[in-house]
Symmetry: C2
Subunit: 181 residues, 2 copies
């Protein structure tokens, strides 16, 4: 099966966006990051495909420039048929169950997938399909919003790989998920 | 006003206990921490008093040995009158609003307070009364439980002071709260 990785920023209280999807609390969104990309470019170069849900797709589509040029993107949503269906160049939609989707992508030679968006990350975690998590904590409490994590149904043990603190106060930790436990 | 500090462990998904208060997901609770105290003794020696709510008091009272010997403890609960009322040796109860309670403790010469328990921490944070947070992330997702953080009413900016990763995989970050922002 392809390796599935999460690479995401959260507020210190665990939110990936405000309730309406806003990211204004993320200092980098107003250019204050001083050119630091927190390892994103290197991570992005290591993946061959992305999987996320309809909300993340709509957010990405609203950007002036499509942020995933050169990578295959699968939009996972109950709105689509199970078979992968082209939405636009390099973007397909499907409602395949996560495990079946990974098998399909594996048969195409995909080796490393970037799983993004709260709902999709939670579904893949619950199904034991996430291999690595890189979480960057932004030093702010926003009080409410869209949570990175949700119900898991069982404890999920992680192995800490590394942690790095940046001058901005962002703290990035990388974990391997112990899906055998 | 006395300095107020939080020193607490959470699961990676931000819970300080399971819904029923259980801490079985904390490796140190079964003696697996190998003697590492994650800076607790040094922090505990630096404080002169503790403030927490009724649930934390009941949990602490259930331990074979009272964990706060030598320190003044205030139990904050709407069950008590506003004036500080002795519950037992070195333990008093009150329903004073947080700011008034701090003034009262300041008048007694208290300089550094350990604020503990989800409800009390959230109330003090919302009121701009927490100065420092030391959060130790345990590498496990438990899916549901009692959250460290809750509604804040506004963004609360923090200044990152330091982060340390331990061989156990615990990651401890210390923040100063920017209550002026």
């Amino acid at each position: 099966m392809p390796k599935c990785s999460v690479f995401i920023a959260t507020s210190l209280d665990g939110f990936i966006a405000r309730k309406d999807g806003a990211l204004d609390w993320l200092p980098s969104s107003d250019g204050a990051s001083g050119g630091e990309d927190y390892g994103y470019k290197s991570f992005f170069e290591s993946i061959d495909a992305l999987i996320f849900g309809r909300k993340t797709y709509e957010l990405a589509s609203s950007f002036a420039e499509w942020p995933y040029t050169g990578k295959s993107v699968v939009v996972l949503s109950s709105c689509y048929p199970k078979t992968l269906q082209p939405i636009s160049h390099n973007v397909e939609g499907t409602s395949l169950p996560p495990r079946n989707l990974l098998s399909e992508l594996e048969s195409r030679g995909v080796q490393h997938i970037y799983v993004d968006g709260g709902t999709t990350i939670q579904s893949f975690l619950r199904n034991g399909l996430i291999d690595e998590l890189t979480i960057t904590r932004v030093p702010v409490l926003i009080g409410e919003g869209i949570s990175l994590f949700g119900a898991t149904g069982h404890d999920i043990r992680l192995n800490h790989i590394s942690t790095k603190a940046f001058p901005s106060g962002f703290v990035q930790s990388k974990y391997r998920v112990d899906n055998a436990a």
